[in-house]
């Protein structure tokens, strides 16, 4: 989702200026995008069907509501993406520049629309809205606009899409840094560094503020036990601290060797230092997230990495404006090696939101323990899980090989 808009930007600049450097950049990244897309498609199709195979009770309960967005994703987004991805990667000659630009826009729109509908689905599970209970006890839709414009969904969409742009920018900056480090000077590398660091800084800032900030406020308002667990907070009270470092000890209900900023949690969550932030002790234990330690660490990994991203990108842009980025070798090394970390931060962010939702599948309405397919035995579930793990591991190796090959191919070619 991040790279898609880089492609649109470069294709547009090429159309406007006729500068072949932009067409070249778009061509290289379109091939990498195509590999990403193929892996995304083939691993995404199973996910839709797993609602039925593994979460049948949940599907029957919530299908009338979340089925809407899942069907919309298929109908509005997947058709758009799938129609244009093939021609974006392979069809430049067949289509001509204008239609090829349209294909890039189609794919970018499709991937973001798809993201929107999936996040509306997830937001409904986090903070149900626009629903009613039907006669048979299942959920039905009461207001389509209430469901689609769930405030949680809008905040989560902005946060998630900004994170996608961070991921794309870091990948592009990393390839740029690699080219420059490898060849001394590389016009291709300079272009990637310029775009990667510029968009990377803007997106990293947006991920933290306002979107991350709003997301945390949303959790504070609608899922207070999740906020308490994210911060390892067991006692309630005003002037709540934010934890920078510490290890939660759930059995003894304490946080070991904490380093804290006093009052900041109250301020960040509610805008005032004097506001009481309830700790886990204030909630019945059967509404606590089921894995508090993992939730705590996931949240801190995400927030910590997000802060480091801003620092790294700020430094890179500072050096770039001074014209010294390409000669600052340690910084280039840092940029090159940084590209896996947005993936880690994204994963940690998703773990935060999903672990924080536990023990609920639909927050406050339907527990995770009720949602699985009753007729699927644990052996079958483990077998298919191991099957996926094996298949996806091989797919991961294949993916790295192919993307690595494209990157090396781009490094080897004569300039422009």
């Amino acid at each position: 989702m991040g790279i898609a808009w880089f492609l649109v930007g470069w294709k547009w600049l090429h159309l406007r200026t006729g500068d072949p450097r932009y067409a070249d950049a778009a061509r290289l990244w379109a091939r990498i995008f195509g590999i990403n897309f193929a892996v995304g498609v083939v691993t995404g199709i199973p996910m839709e069907f797993q609602f039925g195979t593994n979460w049948a009770a949940f599907s029957q309960y919530a299908g009338g509501v979340i089925g809407q967005t899942l069907a919309m994703e298929g109908m509005f987004a997947f058709f758009l993406e799938s129609a244009f991805i093939g021609v974006l990667v392979w069809g430049e000659k067949r289509l001509g520049p204008k239609s090829h630009f349209a294909a890039a826009v189609g794919v970018a729109m499709g991937s973001w629309i798809s993201g929107f509908f999936i996040l509306v689905t997830n937001a409904f599970m986090q903070n149900p809205s626009g629903y009613a209970i039907a006669a048979d006890g299942s959920l039905r839709i009461a207001s389509l606009s209430g469901f689609l414009l769930n405030p949680w969904a809008l905040v989560q969409f902005c946060h998630n899409q900004a994170a996608a742009l961070v991921t794309g920018s870091f990948a592009i900056a990393a390839v740029g840094a690699f080219y420059v480090l490898r060849s001394g000077t590389s016009p291709r590398g300079s272009l990637f560094l310029k775009w990667g660091t510029a968009v990377g800084l803007a997106a990293s800032l947006v991920v933290a503020f306002p979107t991350g900030d709003q997301q945390a406020k949303m959790v504070a308002r609608h899922q207070p036990p999740a906020l308490a667990a994210m911060e390892g907070r067991f006692e309630s009270g005003p002037m709540a601290d934010i934890t920078l470092i510490g290890q939660p000890d759930v059995r003894n209900r304490q946080l070991n060797n904490p380093i804290r900023l006093p009052g900041m949690l109250s301020f960040l969550a509610f805008g005032t230092f004097h506001r009481n932030v309830p700790g886990l002790g204030a909630f019945p234990q059967d509404t606590w997230p089921t894995n508090i330690e993992l939730l705590y660490y996931a949240f801190h990994v995400m927030a910590g990495l997000g802060t480091i991203f801003i620092g790294l990108m700020a430094l890179a842009n500072l050096q770039r404006f001074r014209g010294k980025l390409e000669s600052t070798s340690p910084l280039l090394w840092a940029l090159m090696l940084a590209f896996p970390f947005p993936f880690i931060a994204n994963t940690a962010g998703w773990m935060t939101t999903e672990l924080g939702r536990q023990p609920w599948l639909v927050y406050g309405l339907f527990r995770t323990a009720e949602g699985y397919s009753k007729s699927v035995g644990s052996g079958e579930a483990i077998f298919t899980l191991v099957g996926f793990a094996g298949l996806y591991f091989l797919l991961g190796l294949l993916y790295l090989f192919m993307v690595g090959r494209e990157v090396m191919h781009g490094a080897g070619e004569a300039a422009w």
């Binding site: 091939r31 009613a132 397919s373």
Partner: protein, 349 residues
């Protein structure tokens, strides 16, 4: 409204089978009509950039089933758990083969993915054929226990049936042959040279085999579900669908005899549309037929979601459908005509 959603679901399935059907068929024929690397590149190029758009109709079908008939989804998917995972993993391999094949210009790499593509296409045609057989025959649904099916029981079609029996195996073979014939007609329209000549020969034989198997499966269906045929007589839509299938059949025969490739191809599309339409019109409203007692069957009426959810979905679905067709037209107009055999171009489409 429920009947309308049943129709939408069938429409999506028909789109998927007709469109992705020719991709599956071309995959099965991949090694039979193309003997060297250039010819195989031509087959892949003939499929064009829209194969994933074809496959999205399956994803869309899943979405429509989810929103409109969640109870059907919740009963059937876990019941066919391992079989469905086989479908998902095969789809995964097939998608990778088509997408990854042309990224490396290396003969070993390409033959590996070509074999994966051919094998997974054949496997999927068989799996989807068996799935249709299962829907036609029914499954051992009881009101109180969750439905599960073993792979096979006694290969009979009554009572406690398994996934495979003589009937579902016949439908699987029929689907494989019919979709392969459909793929052959498609290739005769899109290719030239040796690939064209071989596809043309294959198409004639495969369509003859399809007609023989079709008569066999029809006779078998009269013994498995005799009530479908007596009910069909009272349904005008079933008659319309039969007419479509019949005209498709005529078009195939005259097209093959007269060497009119486009007519044969469109006839094949019409035949598949007509057959699926006839099946849908005679099955309605039963979606999951119980082989134990008809009153346990899950129908469109008791399997659908709340009317309000159906109304909301009916509000957005037509727009999405029109958009989807629009993209197809936009991209498709750049990919008309035959693929020419060029060894200088290593790009697949």
């Amino acid at each position: 409204m429920v009947a309308l959603w049943f129709a939408v679901l069938c429409l999506m399935i028909v789109f998927f089978v007709v469109l992705d059907g020719w991709d599956f068929g071309a995959g099965v024929l991949h090694y039979l009509v193309a003997r060297n690397a250039d010819e195989r590149r031509m087959v892949i190029a003939a499929l064009g950039p829209l194969w994933s758009w074809h496959e999205v109709w399956l994803v869309g079908t899943g979405g429509v089933l989810f929103v409109a008939f969640p109870r059907v989804l919740a009963a059937a998917f876990p019941a066919y758990y391992l079989a469905l995972f086989l479908v998902l993993w095969t789809l995964l391999l097939r998608g990778l083969a088509l997408e990854f094949r042309s990224h490396l210009d290396n003969p070993m790499w390409q033959s590996f993915w070509d074999v994966v593509f051919a094998g997974s296409s054949a496997a999927l045609a068989i799996l989807f054929g068996a799935a249709v057989g299962n829907v036609m025959r029914g499954m051992p649904i009881t009101p109180d226990t969750a439905l599960t099916l073993p792979l096979f029981t006694n290969f009979g079609v009554r009572g406690k049936v398994g996934i495979l029996d003589w009937y579902t195996i016949s439908t699987a073979v029929f689907a494989l042959v019919c979709l392969t014939a459909h793929g052959a007609s498609y290739l005769t329209m899109k290719t030239s040279g040796e690939v064209y000549a071989r596809s043309r020969k294959m198409a004639s034989w495969l369509w003859v085999a399809t007609f023989l198997l079709l008569s066999l499966v029809t006779v078998e269906t009269t013994s498995v579900r005799p009530e479908l045929f007596s009910g069909m007589l009272a349904r005008p839509l079933a008659w319309v669908a039969l007419l479509v299938a019949g005209s498709g059949l005529t078009a195939i025969v005259t097209g093959l005899l007269g060497g009119a490739e486009r007519r044969t191809f469109l006839g094949g599309c019409a035949l598949i549309v007509g057959l699926l339409g006839t099946a849908a019109a005679s099955l309605f409203p039963v979606m999951l037929h119980s082989t134990l007692a008809p009153e346990y069957s899950i129908t469109a009426w008791n399997g659908s979601s709340d009317p309000s959810s159906l109304r909301v979905a009916a509000f957005w679905w037509p727009f999405a459908f029109l958009f989807a067709i629009g993209y197809f037209v936009f991209v498709g107009k750049h990919y008309g005509g035959r693929v020419e055999e060029t060894s200088d171009s290593h790009q697949p489409y």
